[in-house]
């Protein structure tokens, strides 16, 4: 965690990272479904309408089983997660909302939230 940065900077950065992430995530979800599991940690858990799916294999199977999708993200919010929860490992809470149409189903609202962990942040620009 970049402890040298103040809270404001964390917030600014987390906004940028979350926007980037969300673009990638839903693009994968809609168009490159097989790549989606790469965004999940080996031990990640996905909870879908109360059903938990854990681990890369199960996740891959799960995403494979979903019909093709068209997500429209209307709302996006994010917060830096407090360091006490993550023992200093930079983590973001990202929350999305919008509509989704799965093939063969009618359009529905959705809400989704992610906890993103950055194990490695590579800094290319100095302020």
């Amino acid at each position: 965690m970049a402890t040298t940065l103040d809270f404001r900077t964390h917030v600014d950065q987390s906004c940028r990272y979350s926007e980037e992430f969300v673009n990638i995530y839903y693009d994968c979800m809609d168009k490159k479904r097989r790549n989606l599991t790469r965004l999940y940690l080996d031990k990640a858990t996905l909870v879908w309408n109360g059903n938990a799916v854990s681990g890369q294999d199960a996740l891959a199977e799960f995403f494979e089983s979903l019909p093709s999708s068209e997500f429209q993200v209307h709302t996006l919010d994010c917060q830096p997660v407090h360091e006490q929860a993550t023992q200093g490992q930079t983590t973001l809470l990202v929350v999305t909302g919008g509509t989704v149409k799965f093939e063969g189903n009618k359009q529905r609202f959705f809400n989704q939230n992610f906890l993103l962990t950055a194990q490695l942040l590579i800094f290319f620009k100095w302020k």
Binding site: D42, T45, V73, T75, Q84, I122, F124, K125
Partner: protein, 595 residues
């Protein structure tokens, strides 16, 4: 390994810039809502400046400011050290690592032929060192083995080529003897290559090859070790080798430590390995580093390394970074390297090993919402961490805008898709529990259908539990009658373990939309629960009085006054003493006095 024994070279580190309200003997008891940690959120740069690229001295300045809190004795010998540049002596170090008897490091190949460490550069003229550089003008095209063997076959004396390398079209190597050089020179035009051309051999006197010159002798290694000790911050386990080549201690001893050379880098790594293998931060900025081959050793030798600063160097390709695979870094600074020009300005996420030790603790959702619906949300203060964050999002709705009750929430809605201005985005995030609860208190009174709730646990570790609560609620008019609008919400909580109360909230994200017809139909089937009196403890009347008095006397705002009193068991005099002491020491930040 006990870093604390006789550890003269580091400061006892415990939140140097945060006010300590307890009389401190080591770390005080742990409360879930750790006061000191939460303060970090509001103090810019509460840790010293970190590793900038240029500007190595900024770190020194920070460390000097903290000297007053230091427990370690001054090292008088350091103060009398040769210090021609007037650089302030780092109080943290006494110039010795001395955790293990230093093995000095192998002398290896002694520096070739006299000439010392500042051997003349460039060819021409007599070489004091007795070295000669042999150049084959079009040597690049030849197989090295073929060339060297062909030369040996016709050369009248055996020769030992040193530091064979290719530069543009030329091949070079060094020999350390004039008669050998002469003999090689005579081989010019005697060999015909496969294209029919004659191989030319040029010979010139030269400085010793750099690979040998930079070999550091044992006494130099000792100086280097001391120099590094001074640049080591034990409290942060951080080593600052920014621009080490120009360090006065090395320059004054004519020691060349040039980190883009294999031998220098290896020497440095060896010293780290032998003395400070628990290093977590390494600053190698400003050292003209272009290859990371030697740094690959860090994986095994410095396994705790978390921050590596390679900014302001000469890294040209991201493939160099592959050599760092295996290092479980948290931060890698690469700014001001040629390779940056090839990357867009974005961060990369790379996977890590998650450590999941399940320890789920219950959070009482019912209690939270009964307070939430009670008409006064102030008691929720105890549910939140000092450094908690909250934000609210509503979707933009074009349906029935005049009838929509979302309007009450809409003005505070934080939606990064709609708001692009960073200041606005920042403002819409409520931060610190006082602000969070103050904001919640301004939201319309509600009645939640707790029976309709679903609670999903998103994830948990031994320090974090995140769950999502979804359901519906109605807005309640002040006179107690329900309004017509029913709304649906989805709320993500991130909580941390907190003392004896179980959990407290560090992140809270609330999404609200209008309920669907189906949801409205199914909602509130059971009789709505009557709000119960809050079981959450609040301040007693005497405590309230003490708080007001303390705030008045100290000038601090209620939040800080309360914390000071709480930390001193509501002993007014003791709290006052501690406060006065800290205030005199200038340890209380301005924000404490903002009402």
């Amino acid at each position: 390994r006990n870093m604390a024994d006789g550890g003269h070279y580091y400061n006892e580190h415990d939140d140097r810039t945060a006010p300590q309200y307890r009389s401190r003997k080591g770390r005080g008891g742990h409360k879930g809502r750790s006061y000191d940690r939460s303060r970090r959120d509001r103090q810019p740069g509460s840790h010293s400046g970190g590793f900038g690229g240029p500007g190595p001295r900024s770190r020194l300045a920070d460390m000097d400011e903290d000297v007053a809190m230091s427990d370690n004795s001054q090292d008088s010998s350091a103060q009398h050290r040769f210090n021609p540049y007037g650089r302030p002596i780092r109080k943290g170090g006494d110039g010795r690592f001395d955790r293990r008897p230093g093995k000095g490091g192998g002398g290896g190949r002694g520096g070739g032929g006299g000439g010392g460490f500042r051997g003349g550069r460039g060819g021409g003229g007599r070489s004091r060192s007795g070295w000669f550089k042999v150049t084959i003008p079009h040597g690049k095209k030849y197989d090295k083995q073929w060339l060297l063997t062909a030369l040996q076959n016709i050369c009248s004396v055996p020769y030992r080529p040193v530091q064979f390398h290719v530069d543009h079209n030329r091949a070079h190597f060094y020999v350390d003897d004039s008669s050998t050089a002469h003999a090689l020179h005579k081989c010019s035009h005697k060999i015909t290559d496969t294209d029919g051309y004659k191989v030319e051999v040029h010979v010139n006197p030269s400085a010793p090859p750099s690979s040998l010159v930079s070999d550091l002798k044992p006494e130099h290694l000792e100086h280097l070790k001391q120099c590094m000790a001074k640049r080591f911050d034990g409290s942060q386990q951080a080593l600052d080798l920014n621009n080490i080549r120009t360090d006065p201690d090395l320059v004054s001893q004519n020691i060349e430590v040039i980190l883009n050379r294999k031998t220098s880098m290896e020497a440095v790594i060896k010293i780290i390995e032998e003395n400070i293998p628990e290093l977590t931060c390494l600053n190698l900025s400003n050292n003209r580093i272009h290859k990371l081959d030697e740094l690959a050793e860090l994986v095994t030798k410095v396994p705790n390394l978390k921050t590596l600063n390679l900014s302001h160097n000469e890294l040209k390709s991201d493939r160099e970074l592959d050599k760092l695979k295996g290092l479980k870094l948290g931060e890698l600074w690469l700014n001001r390297n040629p390779l940056c020009d090839f990357f867009k300005d974005q961060a990369s996420y790379i996977r890590s090993d998650g450590n999941d030790l399940p320890a789920p603790i219950g959070f009482d959702v019912e209690t939270y919402y009964s307070i939430y619906d009670s008409g006064d949300r102030q008691p929720l203060l105890d549910a939140y961490h000092d450094g908690a964050s909250l934000s609210l999002t509503t979707p933009y709705s074009t349906q029935n805008p005049s009838r929509s009750s979302l309007g009450e929430y809409h003005k505070d809605s934080r939606n990064l898709r709609r708001h692009k201005d960073s200041t606005l985005r920042y403002r819409l995030l409520k931060h610190t529990r006082l602000n969070v609860v103050a904001f919640l208190n301004e939201l319309p009174k509600t009645q939640h259908d707790i029976a309709s709730f679903t609670v999903d646990v998103n994830t948990y570790t031994n320090t974090l539990l995140s769950f999502t609560v979804s359901g519906v609620f109605k807005e309640v008019a002040v006179d107690g009658k329900s309004r017509e609008s029913t709304m649906a919400f989805s709320r993500v909580f991130v909580t941390v373990p907190a003392g004896n109360t179980g959990l407290c909230i560090v992140n809270d994200q609330l999404f609200i939309r209008m309920a669907t017809t189906e949801e409205i139909r199914r909602a509130f089937v059971a009789p709505a629960p009557t709000p119960s009196s809050s079981p959450v403890p609040t301040l007693t009347a005497p405590q309230q009085e003490m708080l007001t008095a303390f705030s008045q006397k100290s000038g601090m705002n209620l939040e800080w006054s309360q914390k000071c009193l709480q930390d001193n068991e509501w002993d007014f005099n003791r709290a006052a003493q501690i406060f006065t002491q800290l205030k005199t020491d200038g340890k209380i930040p301005d924000v404490a006095f903002i009402k």
